[in-house]
């Protein structure tokens, strides 16, 4: 099935997942977006402009770093970190916002909206909007505005309007609801830059394609460094954009194991987590069918994670498909385990990871010792931890 992978189909389906579940007013703009996306994907001018921006503005290619000390300490596989934390704005999110903003410009849209959880996608969106001179409004759950205040300030510095969303659970899902309400009201001049591989078709495929540069670079860098493909890939999964970006170019290489790591929060058994693939069920939210955290009545239940970027009740539909087909494996890491990953990388390698990426680090600490030293694990270090300094200091009882 994955020998010649061609998902999604023309209507955005990954098997039973994905699709286009939106209110009628959004059908025309989504069709317009899909047509533009399909067109520019094959336009050499567009691709050249994108490549140039990725190189000189984002700073690509990002290094593939051999974490030798940490590998030795764990006593198993060689661990390599894909350094998306070194990108401009500090995470992988900018790979996608640069692409979508160029698309917005070509489509003649003058206004950009986005949702954000941890604020990384909001910052990456505000950044490209500033550069292109586009009006920018970012929706962010009121709870996240408080716990990621540094990123709120960055977005405002960049000229964006940050709207604190007070409805529902006041986190990422509610920010997405509010962004959809804005879009439905301002469809004529507004481009909605979704930050993850969720939403209605074509977003899951489009965001994946913009993020797939992570995996394409990784493949070449790994061959250069080790002379072979990696044995395993590890990435954290909230909506799943950094994971799919790493995984996608390897899907047909079935000897490469792929591990997505969800946020188990206080523990899967407590119900206070953000792990729909591990403990959810299929349903429809935010324009696509996928695994969701919902109750027996189909109401979405509140999620919990120490990391705002993983605090989402759904997951990209392609991950749902990769789970069902068995091509990728999905595990979960608790808040406390993620903190161990955070401290380990910080003290062992002098790299402070984002709390989201710390989930991938924590899983790597479990996986590496089960493999042999000649084997290779590549972990996506999707973002840097600067934004989490307040959260971490507060946990340690330190006033900044």
């Amino acid at each position: 099935m994955t020998e010649n992978y061609t998902m999604p189909d023309a209507r955005g389906h990954f098997g039973p997942y994905g699709g286009m579940f939106v209110a009628e007013t959004l059908i025309p703009p989504i069709q317009e977006l899909n047509a533009a996306y399909q067109h520019y994907l094959g336009d050499p001018d567009f691709i050249a402009e994108l490549d140039k921006d990725l190189q000189y503005y984002v700073g690509r290619p990002s290094p593939l770093y051999h974490a030798e000390r940490w590998s030795r300490e764990l006593g198993g596989a060689q661990i390599y970190l894909k350094r998306e934390d070194l990108n401009h704005t500090g995470s992988h999110k900018i790979n996608n916002t640069v692409g979508q903003a160029l698309l917005a410009k070509r489509m003649g849209k003058t206004r950009i909206i986005a949702e954000t959880g941890a604020g990384q996608h909001g910052v990456a969106t505000a950044t490209v909007a500033a550069r292109l001179g586009l009006e920018c409004v970012v929706y962010m759950g009121a709870v996240d505005v408080t716990r990621q205040s540094l990123n709120v300030y960055r977005m405002k510095l960049l000229g964006a309007t940050v709207v604190a969303v007070e409805s529902g659970s006041k986190t990422l899902k509610d920010a997405l609801n509010e962004a959809l309400r804005d879009w439905v009201t301002n469809v004529d001049n507004t481009f909605y830059i979704i930050g993850t591989v969720a939403g209605p078709h074509p977003y899951p495929a489009m965001v994946r394609d913009f993020q797939a540069i992570i995996g394409r670079e990784t493949k070449q860098q790994c061959l250069d460094a080790t002379g072979k493909l990696p044995d395993a890939l590890v990435a954290c999964v909230g909506g799943g954009s950094n994971a799919i970006g790493l995984f996608y170019p390897f899907i047909n290489d079935t000897q490469v194991a792929m591990y997505g790591v969800e946020a188990a929060g206080d523990g899967i058994e407590t119900g206070r987590h953000s792990a729909p693939l591990s403990a959810g069920r299929p349903g429809v939210l935010h324009g696509n069918r996928t695994y969701l955290m919902a109750d027996d009545d189909g109401e979405i239940i509140e999620t919990h994670s120490i990391s705002a970027g993983l605090d989402y009740p759904g997951v990209g539909p392609e991950h749902a498909w990769l789970k069902d087909t068995g091509r990728a494996h999905y595990a979960s890491i608790t808040d406390n385990e993620a903190l161990e990953g955070f401290y380990a990388l910080t003290r062992m390698e002098g790299i402070i990871p984002a709390l989201e990426s710390s989930h991938a680090m924590a899983y790597t600490m479990k996986l590496a010792p089960t493999l042999r030293p000649e084997q290779t694990i590549i972990v996506n270090l999707s973002g840097r931890g600067d934004k989490d300094m307040q959260t971490m200091a507060k946990r340690e009882g330190i006033e900044l």
Binding site: R11, F21, P28, N186, V187, E299
Partner: protein
């Protein structure tokens, strides 16, 4: 023929337009809803749209969002909404009832079980905001097989192709969303509604109801002059929200508003 088609045809014969209130099931508490539905029938409404509360009502403005939150706080759900429908049907076998909501509660129940339950509850139409025809044929067929009309939305930016598609897959009536925006938004543009409804008529024989932004008797009357039905939702729910300490007062104000709309709509041309 479905109860919806029968009702709308009877109205058309007498030149009257359908007054269609929308209220959220279980807002502000579950026992409030069925007596309100009966009172609305007495006030002269023709069809009732009952909103199924959902945790993430993406197409709704703040008024209906908060109605959903109030209802969910009382553990209202799709199953309990169907029980309210059943209770309403015990003493009213004539007023068509449309459930309006989002897809996930139906997904959780299962399409077939939902269609069977809706039929048992005497529901006449289902409007699922985030289920466009591309994704909704299976559900629509299950409903039609049980004489329940799948009702679809059309918007100001819907193309001729979309209108024709809705005409094919939809039945009962088409719900024209009068503006680009969420429910309860305040910028209804009568001239553009007139133009678009005329365009819809070229491509469908189905009755057209217009909603989103109908706030008072004067607007209801104007819309009634253009379409076959007038949907009013947020304006009614605002009465509930404005009288949370006195639900009876809320009911009284809702009935007064609907009665004034009925009167205005029945004196078209006057």
């Amino acid at each position: 023929m479905s109860r919806l088609s029968t009702t709308l045809e009877a109205l058309a014969k007498t030149g009257r337009k359908a007054l269609i209130p929308f209220v959220t099931a279980g807002d502000p508490y579950p026992e409030f809803t069925v007596p309100l539905m009966h009172a609305m029938v007495v006030a002269g409404v023709d069809i009732i749209e009952l909103g199924v509360p959902f945790s993430d009502p993406m197409a709704d403005g703040p008024v209906i969002q908060r109605a959903s939150e109030r209802a969910l706080a009382h553990k209202m759900s799709l199953r309990r909404t169907l029980l309210l429908a059943l209770e309403f049907r015990r003493t009213n076998q004539t007023t068509p009832l449309v459930l309006m909501g989002y897809l996930n509660p139906i997904e959780a129940m299962g399409y077939e079980e939902f269609a069977n339950a809706a039929q048992r509850a005497g529901v006449d139409g289902i409007l699922t905001v985030d289920l466009p025809p591309e994704e909704g044929t299976q559900c629509a067929e299950l409903l039609k097989a049980r004489d329940i009309d799948p009702i679809f939305l059309l918007a100001p930016n819907s193309s001729v192709e979309r209108i024709q598609k809705m005409d094919t897959v939809g039945s009962g009536y088409l719900y024209y969303v009068s503006l680009k925006g969420v429910t309860g938004a305040g910028h209804l543009d009568i001239a553009s509604v007139q133009t678009k409804v005329a365009e819809l008529r070229l491509h469908t024989q189905l009755p057209v109801a217009v909603g989103f932004g109908v706030k008072d008797a004067a607007t209801a009357k104007t819309i009634a002059g253009l379409a076959d039905g007038v949907v009013v939702g947020s304006a009614l729910i605002s009465k509930i929200e404005g009288n949370l300490d006195s639900p009876e007062q809320a009911k009284k104000e809702i009935i007064e508003l609907l009665a004034s709309m009925r009167l205005a709509m029945d004196t078209l041309g006057a």
